[in-house]
């Protein structure tokens, strides 16, 4: 596998640590470790083309609705939200907020779906 085969690339703008992954949830795991240690957020550098349209305006529920059948990996939600310029941390916070209003839920670990 060459670097070009890795569809997901994310990095920390603060300390330029970079991660490449084939599964977008690996980026979420990277963010969690990195954030826990440094407090830094992580942004997306490269994501593969999405399987569905992401609305122009930020709306997590709409992304989950578009990608989530039956559920969607948190990392994939975050990769899609990068189109709005969102970092991994910003997406995770938004998902958390939507979960705590009962709009989203987590049928399996690190995957979300619309209620």
């Amino acid at each position: 596998m060459t670097a070009d085969d890795v569809p997901f690339v994310a990095c920390c703008p603060d300390c330029t640590e970079r991660t490449t992954a084939t599964d977008p949830n690996e980026v979420v795991a990277f963010y969690r470790r990195h954030h826990a240690v440094t407090g830094h957020d992580v942004s997306w550098e490269r994501t593969p083309p999405l399987a569905a349209d992401v609305p122009a305006d930020p709306d997590v529920d709409a992304v989950v609705a578009a990608l989530g059948d039956p559920d969607v990996a948190l990392g994939a939600v975050s990769a899609a939200a990068s189109e709005w310029g969102w970092t991994v941390g910003e997406t995770l916070d938004a998902v958390h907020d939507r979960r705590l209003t009962g709009a989203l839920w987590e049928p399996r670990d690190d995957h979300v779906a619309l209620v």
Binding site: R99, L100, T101, G102, A103, W105, E106, P107, R108, D109, V115
Partner: protein, 380 residues
Amino acid sequence: MTRWNEDVDEVQAVSPDITDETNALPAKYFTDPDVWEMEKEKVFSRYWVYAGHENCIPDAGDYFTRTVGDKQVIVARDEDGDVRAFYNVCAHRGSKMVADTPMTDPGNMGRIQCPYHLWTYDLDGDLRSTPRSFEEASLNPDLDDSDVAGLDPDENGLLEVRTDSIGPLVFLNFADDPPLSLAEQAGKLKTRLESLPLEEYQHARRYVSEVACNWKTFGGNYSECDHCQANHQDWITGIQLDESALEVNDYHWVLHYTHEEDVEDELRIHDEHEAQFHYFWPNFTVNMYGTADGYGTYIVDPIDEERFQLIADYYFAEPELTEAEEEFVRTSRQLQEEDFELVERQYEGLRSGALGQGQLGPNEHTLHRFHRLAQEAYNA
């Protein structure tokens, strides 16, 4: 100091007196994998455990599967209309036969067929047919076909698991000789639930969520509402928390919540002007809402010592929900998410090992009952 420095000091048994300091189940019973191994036998193979709702399998051949500890079960309706449960294990060489998620959505099958060598069973568990390779000895030069005795359908049938029900709610018991009948374990809960028309309501929604904590951590959280004021802002509006009552019975406890204003009588399945949340040892709840004409059930299904699945089912008069019912379910989901956050946070704390044995407050007598039951089960 019994409660801190678990490595240094011994913890104590859960004291019968709630005013003693050692009144909570020691932390290791929530975090130790060996305890979970023990619970598979001493809790989940001995008491009556909720399997599912009869309404979900109305016709002959309808079935769902359940995983309880290490045991997998097929719950099916047979040709006579009875609901029965069988180990999901083939009598030939022990293969699993059907999908084995903790609880599958209902399916239908005319017979139960093992995919390995195609032994096929009737819905009453009897062996119905085997392929010719089990009836003839063509590959074995030492035998004639006439030497093959054939298999007794009854002797070679599936292993049945004991079931009993309360209204449409089906329970399983894996013990050869259960220490309690379902009626004994359920006590007053049985009478109460049987007085309600539970079977008239239809399954409308199911949410299965994986949560990162021990099953008892969530069970404990469900059993008290001291955390509600601080953590369920939306829900507590309209609820008179100080007029609520906690009722403790042998194997179940009930949290009664009074509503500030009377909600319309049509808006509930039961007559009382309150919501009632029943926790039934070990891992089942029945949720009677004060503001919706329906009810819910939770199965708090352990995956291992540090994870469980919450299977949340909602039953309403019609499976198609009205706008108001949709909104109700959304609010209920919100409550669950808020609780998941609390219990996951609590569990991270418990796992750190800093707390050897917690301490329950005087109004946490429902939890105390829960912890006492766990201890009783472990020592039995």
